[in-house]
């Protein structure tokens, strides 16, 4: 028999268990990518049922179809433009009323819908029953109960998708009351957009939906006046605005429906009891912040303490591989450039990508656990006031903190933020958080010049980074995003036990996406620098005569006013773009000494003042290539270029400023 194809979307509120349903439907095999042009994840998977092959697209978690946020726009565009065969709406059955709101919007649109009442175990535990037959009757669609966390009801859901979507049905008609209905009628007769039910278009027009208004005006300009006219008439009559009135009617319809179809109406206070009790401690007035800081310490420790040895292991492995490769090629009589290409180029290139992998996977694991358990929203709740004062958002705390370990997971952690502006702002200033790779530079210089106050000197650099981040965030906010603050309207979901499978899948999906996308850019960057360091033919790798040496020498005079205008410093900074800790090794190579002898050499080239200026430069100038690649992957070239440019100028100005002003006093 020939297989028939179906394409469906999964829609639902955040925290409705959508991902779990998706994982069960597709067996956890998802293709993860991004929606075109944005960084919102797009997950696609497939399953076979009877003689059907069904491809499933996981839509972003949304509360409504208003197309105000990026997530809503994506979901709406998918439903309106890609015209899938159907949409499964995943509903947290223990919070029926608000969850059904999204479903009613889809049903009004006339989308082919299947309702999936998920988390039925919670409902049953409360001794309640939902009359699914009645729901099915009123909505005119199939209703399937599941407990996705235990895999219950998934087969029934598959069956309903394959068989239930075939039936044709009418759009849901909510009665908006005599007055509004009259105007809907009036508008309905005058407007048409091909492919959309005209009643829905009329309602959207009254609701003030800009996108639909633009589409309608393409069919006839007059519609704008008719809409404004209808709205004005109604609002005068109703005494308040239509937006409110329409949503109110929808919710009134739903609350009636819930009353009718739920036996022993769920006493929600009861359900929230355990969650409430946990919250009483976790977001307690006095304990809330200490607990939050403790949690962050735990996350930070597990990411970098557990990840550190793994990264070191990978690094050592790659070093060994590089040496054996170059020895092997040498013993086989291969040319020197070939062994260098393998050991300094390809293997160290792959290594520089892989070296981040443990940290990134652990970070994503931690984030997945925090998100799945419901604590992530509490963290934002606790920290919002503080971050808000800095011009950022409650959720930007975690990315900033991560930045101290490594900017790459920091930049990626900004994904948890809903507002695109806040997310980009958080990414832009993240490289100013002094990552652990910069520590070897501080250790070398502070140890050589400020042995007695080493701790304070290093601390001052961390502090400088934080202060600069606040200032830069403020300036960029004013410059690019306006003074407008993004509101905080965030659900605090009930606490839930994360499932091992769920968080592992989540971790791997995000981690592999990083490997694929950022990996290529990092790899190419490493190869480019290898070429520059090896050419022209016959030069010593990374010597003054190589292209990179020449480049370093040519711009080193620029750093004369900062006190380190010699070519070795220029080259070291260039290599620092590869990875900041490489600066130390480069000095070793260039001066031909081991790390132990490096202090002596440095003492002869730098003064304490120029050493401090150099440390400030290392802190601020251009993020490492992996961070640049990650910024590009998470934003676009414009923001990437801006980050590189501002950090370079800021670093230079501060280094020069410190050196010049310091000279006056010292």
């Amino acid at each position: 028999m020939e297989t028939k194809k179906l394409k469906i979307g999964l829609a639902g509120n955040p925290n409705s268990g959508k991902s779990t349903v998706f994982n069960h439907l597709t067996g956890g095999h998802a293709h993860v990518g991004n929606w075109p042009g944005v960084t919102v994840e797009k997950k696609e998977g497939k399953f076979q049922f009877q003689d059907y092959e069904v491809s499933v697209v996981d839509l972003p978690g949304i509360y409504a179809l208003t197309a105000y946020s990026m997530d809503e726009k994506i979901a709406r565009d998918f439903i309106l433009r890609e015209k899938p065969d159907g949409i499964v709406v995943i509903i947290d059955a223990s919070n029926l009323e608000r969850n059904l709101y999204l479903a009613t919007q889809l049903l009004e649109l006339g989308t082919n819908v299947i309702l999936n009442l998920n988390m039925m175990d919670i409902v049953r535990n409360k001794g309640m029953a939902i009359d699914t037959k009645k729901l099915s009757q009123i909505f005119g669609v199939a209703v399937v109960e599941t407990v996705a966390s235990k895999g219950e009801g998934i087969e029934e859901l598959k069956e309903a998708i394959v068989n239930g979507l075939k039936k044709k049905r009418d759009s849901l008609r909510i009665d908006y009351g005599e007055d509004i209905e009259m105007e809907i009628d009036r508008l309905e007769k005058r407007v048409s957009i091909s492919g959309y039910p005209s009643r829905w278009v009329a309602i959207k027009l009254l609701e003030g939906d800009r996108e639909i208004l633009e589409m309608a005006m393409r069919e006839g300009e007059a519609i704008e006046f008719q809409t404004v006219d209808s709205k004005k008439r109604l609002e005068e009559h109703l005494g308040y605005d239509l937006e409110t009135a329409l949503v109110e009617k929808r919710y009134a319809f739903l609350s009636g429906l819930v009353k009718e179809s739920v036996a022993k109406r769920l006493d929600l206070m009861e359900r929230l009891d355990i969650s409430d009790r946990i919250d009483r401690i976790l977001v307690n007035r006095y304990l809330g912040i200490p607990i939050f800081l403790g949690m962050m310490w735990l996350v930070f420790q597990s990411v970098f303490t557990l990840g550190g040895p793994l990264s070191d292991g990978i690094e050592a492995l790659m070093g060994w591989l590089g040496e054996s490769a170059s020895a092997g090629i040498g013993s086989l009589g291969g040319p020197k450039w070939l062994s260098s290409l393998f050991s300094d180029g390809i293997i160290s290139g792959v290594g520089s990508v892989l070296v981040f992998l443990p940290n990134i996977l652990l970070l994503f694991l931690a984030i997945a656990i925090l998100e799945a358990s419901g604590y992530m929203a509490r963290a934002a709740f606790v920290m919002d006031r503080f971050m808000h004062a800095l011009g950022l958002h409650g959720k930007s705390f975690i990315p900033m903190l991560m930045g101290f370990g490594c900017n790459i997971p920091g930049i990626m952690a900004a994904r948890t933020m809903e507002s695109e502006k806040d997310r980009i702002l958080t990414i832009l200033v993240n490289p100013l958080m002094s990552c652990s790779a910069r520590l070897p530079i501080y250790t070398l210089f502070a140890g050589a010049f400020f042995a007695e106050n080493q701790g304070w000197v290093v601390f001052s650099l961390y502090l400088l980074g934080i202060i600069l981040a606040i200032i830069v965030a403020r300036i960029f906010k004013g410059l690019f995003f306006g003074a407008e603050v993004s509101p905080l309207i965030m659900e605090l979901p009930p606490y839930r036990m994360p499932t091992v499978k769920g968080v592992l899948i989540h971790m791997w999906e995000r981690g592999s996406l990083f490997l694929r996308k950022a990996g290529t850019i990092i790899f190419l960057g490493v190869i480019l620098i290898w070429l520059l360091a090896s050419l022209p033919f016959g030069v010593e790798y990374a010597s003054k005569e190589s292209f990179i040496g020449q480049l370093g020498s040519s711009f080193s005079p620029l750093f004369k006013p900062a006190g380190f205008g010699f070519w070795q410093a220029g080259v070291a900074l260039l290599f620092g773009i590869l990875a900041k800790e490489v600066v130390v090794g480069t000095f070793g190579t260039l001066y031909g000494v081991e790390e132990a002898g490096l202090k002596e050499v440095i003492l002869t080239h730098f003064t304490p003042l120029s050493a401090y200026a150099f440390m400030v430069m290392s802190l601020i100038y251009i993020p490492c290539i992996a961070a640049i690649a990650t910024i590009k992957r998470e934003t676009n070239w414009k923001w990437t270029f801006l980050t590189v440019a501002y950090s370079l100028f800021l670093g230079w100005f501060l280094a020069v400023g410190i050196y010049q002003i310091g000279k006056i006093f010292l």
Binding site: V247, F381, L488
Partner: protein, 231 residues
Amino acid sequence: MEALTPSLEDYLEAIWTISLRDKVARVKDIAKSLRVSTPSVVNALNVLLEKNLIKHERYGYIELTDQGALKAKEVDEHHKLLFTLLNEIFGINAGIASKDACKIEHHLSKETIKRIEQFIQFLEEDQEEKAFFTSRFKDFVEKGEEDMGDKKVSKADFTLRDLKPGEKGKVIKIKGKGNLKKRLLDMGIVPGTEIQLKKVAPLGDPVDILVKGYHLSLRKGEARDILLEKV
């Protein structure tokens, strides 16, 4: 009539007040009343003379023309209205109220002046209501915004911001427009819905509310846009 500069209006007003009190106004009286030098007064008087707003009688007495008197009376009335608003209703002390009224009076449109006049009339209609209004406003100013949980507060003044942890309210409407309002509505904060304030975050903002059976957090800034009635 041609518009006068604020300072010329002040001169007219001064002449008007002085002549009401002393019957005639002299240059040095005007200088004293406005705290300016005699030569400046003479300068200004020459301009007013040119505009045919005053008559310069013998012995240095100054008298307003009919046109001048009309204008002066208007400025004076505006001053009194503004003074009443600032002093009696807003409760600003007389010195500041008078000084500020002088500054504002020259710049307001007829419509605004008219409305202020109507507002004052409106309050005057019911003295008891006026006393209640002004004393409550005084309380409000003194206690500061934080303590606005007063029982006498009328429905329209009561917002989600004013709830204390554990207290409940019923939504009347959401102020404002656009994105934020739409989002709040979509989340189920529609008229008639009951909201309970559960917690305030450790740093004082945002707040955690229970609405339609789930927890939602909002900043106090957003909470202020949600008008409630007590339940």
